[in-house]
């Protein structure tokens, strides 16, 4: 029996109107439950690839399927987490987390129950009535994650979610993300600029090369699970980070124009 991959990207190219080629003939298959990180220099098309998978923009060439169907029709399976937390400032934490369910017309009592459960899962019960402007960057991101998870997605798409945070908050949230991943078994596409973060989180890292964006290397990360703060202290972790950093540097050096 052949199982459908959760995300199948087949010879996909993306050309923006008037612009250069953002992605050139990219193929990538992500199986259910995989945690795949996309690494690469700025402008190599990581965000573009995520948007194609989420169906927010159409591919110029090639096909993408999510759970075997067109991305635009599979949106209820996916949640997107953006670099800035994109919380609506006029809504409290609670109302922000419930946004998706509200838009989808979920009944009040059910909505409140899911939201409350999610808030306690990410440790935000005490901040439920606060407005986003009272929260730190790390807290905002936590709310953003809660909002993405409350609709029980099968697939998570994250575009540099922790890039704006200090290293300590970032490490904490990385660990928390893995804890939730172990519980909820999503399939994850994660964009980052941090090699250490990618190694810590991923089961597989895809290194992209720029101009035009294409897949340069695919590196399986075979660090043992579950990964904890101690994982970062192991030699195996350091080796992987060094290895991926080398690949990333070679990709950057080969780029026709470094920015």
């Amino acid at each position: 029996m052949v199982t459908t991959p959760e995300i199948a990207i087949d010879q996909v190219s993306k050309q923006f109107r008037g612009g250069s080629l953002a992605l050139d003939n990219v193929s990538l298959t992500v199986e259910k439950g995989e945690f795949v990180s996309l690494l690469g220099p700025s402008g190599c098309g990581k965000s573009t690839l995520l948007r194609l998978v989420s169906g927010l923009t159409p591919a110029t060439q090639g096909t993408i399927t999510v759970n075997g169907i067109e991305p635009a029709n599979a949106r209820e399976l996916m949640s997107f987490i953006f670099q800035d937390a994109t919380l609506l400032p006029w809504r409290t934490v609670e109302q922000n987390v419930g946004l998706g369910l509200e838009l989808e017309g979920v009944a009040r009592p059910v909505l409140e129950k899911s939201v409350n459960a999610m808030l306690s899962l990410v440790g935000l019960e005490n901040l439920a009535q606060r407005y986003p402007r009272h929260l730190s960057g790390g807290m905002k991101m936590r709310v953003s994650i809660a909002r993405a998870l409350v609709s029980r997605p099968r697939i998570l798409l994250l575009d540099e979610p922790f890039a704006a945070l200090d290293e300590m908050s970032r490490d904490r949230l990385n660990e928390e993300l893995l804890r939730l991943y172990a519980e909820q078994h999503w399939t994850v596409l994660f964009v980052t600029h941090s090699v250490a973060e990618a190694v810590f989180l991923s089961s597989r890292i895809v290194v992209l090369a720029p101009h035009p964006g294409r897949v340069a290397h695919v590196v399986p990360i075979d660090l043992p699970w579950p990964r904890t703060a101690d994982t970062r202290l192991s030699d195996a972790f350091d080796e992987q980070v060094t290895h991926v950093s080398r690949l990333l540097r070679s990709v950057q050096a080969a780029a026709p124009e470094a920015r």
Binding site: S54, L56, R75, F82, D84, T86, L88, W90, G100, L103
Partner: protein, 262 residues
Amino acid sequence: MKRHLWFALNSLIVLGVLLLIWQSGVWLGVPPYMLPGPLVVGEAVVNRFPSLIRSLWLTSEAAALGLGASIVVGVAIALAFAQWRWLRCLLFPYTILLQTVPIVAIAPLVLMWAGNGLLSVALVAFIICLPPIIANTTQGLISVEENFLHLFLMHKATPVQVLLHLRLPHALPHLFTGIRISAGISVIGAITGELFAGSSRVGEGGLGYSILYASGQLETDYLFALVLAASALGFCFFFATMFLEWYLLHDWHEANRSDIPE
């Protein structure tokens, strides 16, 4: 709190100094038909109090009517502008034109169309109030960040949901900026209207009408009282909208955190 007290105290001191300079003009011998002193003006206020209050009331009525109408119509136009880009490109220059046309030149025209009375006066206020409302609200409706739109699209939000839960709340602070600007000038518009429309009720008139009348009669002291009343009215309109804005938005909007800028 202490800072606010200081602020109020300083403002009062400034007021005292201004009054002193004014009074010293009188002491230096400027004739009262050119510069009536603060005491004389105060006397005029007391003597003519009922008609002054009546004028203030008539002018505020017209200004509030014009402002209210401009908010309703302005938001409706802004919604259309936000919805249809081509319409915005086509008509936006004309809203700016509306802003640059001297209101004094428009007022007589309005009078010819709408006749003497409250309607004409409110219309002049409406015309002067409209452009800031349109410009600011449109800006607020269309300046929503792309990621927010993507977020809504990921949840298959309908255009109506995007409008109600994203564009409108996002535009609210912008709308209030527009209202604040318009509130101050609505009074100017109404008074300008009254200069031409005269009385908005038979036998009596708003501030603009009374100003014309007082200057015709060389009642300089009452003229001063009217001018001060007019500025006070604009001030009140401005602060009323500012308070409303603070009341509605201070929970979540950054700019409304502190009422007195550092």
